[in-house]
C-alpha cells in the first residue's frame, strides 16, 4: 500500500490490525489506517464491505474483536478505557436522522455540553448559538426536529456533535436518507468544516464530495482496504480492478 503524504506528522487516529467478526462473519480483516490532524478521509466501497462497522469501531459503538485504535495517541481499545470519556472526543453523524425529538434545535446542541460536560447553561447556550449560526440555522433555534427538513436536521446534528469540541468527526452516509435537493446544503456544511481544519472520516456515496473535499480516498471491499490514494488518483486512474468496477457502476471516474 502506498505511503500517504502526511506520514511525517503524528497521526490523530491510528488503527492497527483491526478485526471485527459478527459470529462467523469476518467483517473487518486486519485493517490498518492512520489519519493526520486536519485530514479528510473519504471511505468508499460496495454495500456490506464493512465501512459502517469500521467507523462504529472508532468510537466503540461496535466492539472490535481484536486490534488497537489510538485517538490522539491514547488507546481507546481494551477493557480499561472509560468509554463515555473516549466518545466525547469523537463526534459522529449517522445516516438516519436522530436528533432528540423532544428537544428544540438549541437544546439538542446544548445537551452534550450540559449533561456530559456539565457546562453552565449560559456558556452552553452561547456556544450552541454560535454553532447553529455556523451551520446556517440561527432562525431555527427554538424549533423542534419534526419541523425541520432532513437537511436541516443533519446540520443540527453536526452542530450537536461539534458542541463537544471533538478531535475527530465521523460521518456515516449522512446524506443517503435525504431528498436529493437537500444533499447540497449538508455537503457544503461538511466542506466548511473541513476548511476549518476538522479531522474527518467520511463514509459516502457522494463521489463529488470525495473528489472536491477529501484529501484521501480509501476503498473498502470485503473488510479490506483494497486501495487508497489522493482523490484524483483513485477517481481517474484507480489501479485496482474492483475499484474501477465499483466506480464505473456509480458512473463516476475511471475511463
Amino acid at each position: 500500500m502506498e505511503e500517504t503524504t502526511t506520514a511525517t506528522t503524528t497521526p490523530i487516529v491510528r488503527v492497527e490490525a483491526l478485526n471485527k467478526k459478527f459470529g462467523e462473519l469476518h467483517v473487518l480483516k486486519d485493517v490498518d489506517m492512520q489519519v493526520a490532524p486536519g485530514e479528510v478521509v473519504a471511505i468508499i466501497g460496495p454495500s456490506g464491505s464493512g465501512k459502517s462497522t469500521f467507523l462504529r469501531c472508532l468510537n466503540r459503538l461496535e466492539e472490535p474483536t481484536s486490534g488497537q485504535i489510538y485517538v490522539d495517541q491514547e488507546e481507546i481499545t481494551g477493557d480499561a478505557v472509560d468509554l463515555p470519556k473516549v466518545r466525547r472526543n469523537i463526534g459522529m453523524i449517522f445516516q438516519h436522522l436522530n436528533l432528540f425529538p423532544h428537544m428544540t434545535a438549541i437544546d439538542n446542541v446544548m445537551e452534550g455540553p450540559r449533561t456530559v460536560l456539565k457546562s453552565s447553561r449560559s456558556k452552553a447556550r452561547e456556544a450552541a448559538v454560535q454553532l447553529l449560526d455556523k451551520v446556517g440555522l440561527l432562525d431555527k433555534i427554538d424549533v423542534k426536529p419534526a419541523q425541520l427538513s432532513g437537511g436541516q436536521q443533519q446540520r443540527v446534528a453536526i452542530a450537536r456533535a461539534l458542541a463537544m469540541q471533538p478531535k475527530v468527526m465521523l460521518f456515516d452516509e449522512v446524506t443517503s436518507a435525504l431528498d436529493p435537493e437537500l444533499v447540497g446544503e449538508v455537503l457544503s456544511t461538511m466542506k466548511q468544516l473541513a476548511d476549518d481544519g476538522m479531522t474527518m472520516l467520511v463514509v459516502t456515496h457522494e463521489m463529488s464530495f470525495g473528489e472536491k473535499v477529501a484529501d484521501r480516498v480509501v476503498m473498502f471491499d470485503e473488510g479490506i482496504i483494497i486501495e487508497e490514494g489522493a482523490p484524483e488518483q483513485i477517481f481517474s486512474r484507480a489501479s485496482n480492478e474492483r475499484t474501477q468496477r465499483f466506480l464505473s457502476q456509480l458512473h463516476w471516474g475511471g475511463t
Binding site: 468510537n59 459503538l61 468509554l83 463515555p84 470519556k85 473516549v86 466518545r87 466525547r88 469523537i90 463526534g91 459522529m92 449517522f94 438516519h96 436522522l97 436522530n98 436528533l99 432528540f100 425529538p101 423532544h102 445537551e111 452534550g112 449533561t115 456530559v116 446534528a157 450537536r160 456533535a161 463537544m164
Partner: protein, 253 residues
C-alpha cells in the same frame, strides 16, 4: 338466620357462603315479572355502603404508587445487561401476569405469613398483593415504552459521550413516558375495579360493605345494583380520561 353485629364481622369465607345460600325469602319466590324492587333499604344504609369507597380509592391509589415504583425497578432489571437481574425480573412479571389476581391475594393472605413470618392486616395484605400485581404490569408498560424508542436515539446519546443512566434520564425516559401514559391509564382503571376482589379477605372496602349489607338486609338485588352504579359513577369519568389520553398522545407523535 344471619344476624350480624358490626363488631363481629364474619370470616370472609363464611360470609361468601352465607351470601350464596341464604338469600331472602322474597328473592327465592321472585320471578322477573313480580319482583318488587325496594330501594329504601339501600338509601337507609347508604352512608355505610359509601364508607367502603374511601378504602377502595385509598387502596387503588396506594397500590398504583407502590406498584409504579416497584415496577420501574423490575423494568430496569428486565432490560439490564446482567442475566442475574434479567431472569428473576422476567419470572416475576410473567408469574404475576399469568395467574388470577384472586389467587395472588389468597397467596399473600395465607402463604406469605408462613414464609415471611409476618402477620398482615387485611388492608395490608390487599395493598401488598395489588402492588405486586400492578408492579408486574407496570414493568411491562415501562419496558415496552423504553423499547419503543428508536435505536438511533441510543446511538446518538452514546456517541455524545453519555453514560447509560444519563441517556435513560435525559433522552429515553422523557420520550418513552408519553407512550406509557395511555396504557397506565388503562391499568389504573382495571386496578380500581380489581380492588373489589379484596373483599374476599374481609377488607371493608365498597364491595365488602355491599356484601355485608346484602346479607344483613336480604336485599342483594338492590344493593348490588346500586353498588354497580357506584363503581360506574366513579370509574366512567376515569375511563373517559383514559380515552382522552390516548387521543392526546397519539396526535402528539
Amino acid at each position: 338466620m344471619c344476624q350480624l353485629a358490626a363488631q363481629e364481622i364474619p370470616d370472609a369465607l363464611t360470609l361468601r357462603v352465607s351470601l350464596t345460600y341464604e338469600t331472602s325469602p322474597s328473592l327465592q319466590e321472585a320471578t322477573t315479572v313480580n319482583y318488587e324492587w325496594e330501594f329504601d333499604v339501600v338509601w337507609e344504609n347508604f352512608p355505610f355502603l359509601l364508607s367502603g369507597v374511601g378504602t377502595t380509592v385509598g387502596l387503588a391509589i396506594l397500590s398504583m404508587l407502590a406498584g409504579g415504583v416497584l415496577g420501574m425497578a423490575v423494568a430496569l432489571a428486565r432490560i439490564s445487561r446482567l442475566r442475574i437481574l434479567r431472569v428473576p425480573a422476567y419470572c416475576y412479571t410473567e408469574l404475576f401476569r399469568t395467574t388470577p389476581i384472586v389467587v395472588q391475594i389468597m397467596w399473600v393472605y395465607w402463604v406469605l405469613p408462613i414464609l415471611a413470618g409476618v402477620t398482615l392486616s387485611g388492608f395490608q395484605t390487599g395493598l401488598v398483593a395489588l402492588s405486586l400485581n400492578v408492579a408486574a404490569f407496570m414493568a411491562e408498560i415501562y419496558r415496552a415504552g423504553i423499547m419503543s424508542i428508536n435505536r438511533g436515539q441510543t446511538e446518538a446519546s452514546l456517541a455524545l459521550g453519555m453514560t447509560s443512566s444519563q441517556m435513560m434520564r435525559r433522552i429515553i425516559i422523557p420520550q418513552a413516558i408519553t407512550r406509557m401514559i395511555p396504557p397506565m391509564g388503562t391499568m389504573w382503571v382495571s386496578l380500581f375495579k380489581d380492588t373489589a376482589i379484596i373483599s374476599a379477605i374481609g377488607v371493608t372496602e365498597l364491595m365488602f360493605q355491599a356484601q355485608y349489607l346484602a346479607v344483613d338486609t336480604y336485599r342483594p338485588v338492590e344493593i348490588f345494583t346500586i353498588t354497580a352504579v357506584i363503581y360506574f359513577v366513579i370509574t366512567y369519568p376515569q375511563s373517559l380520561g383514559v380515552n382522552f389520553l390516548y387521543k392526546k398522545f397519539r396526535t402528539q407523535e
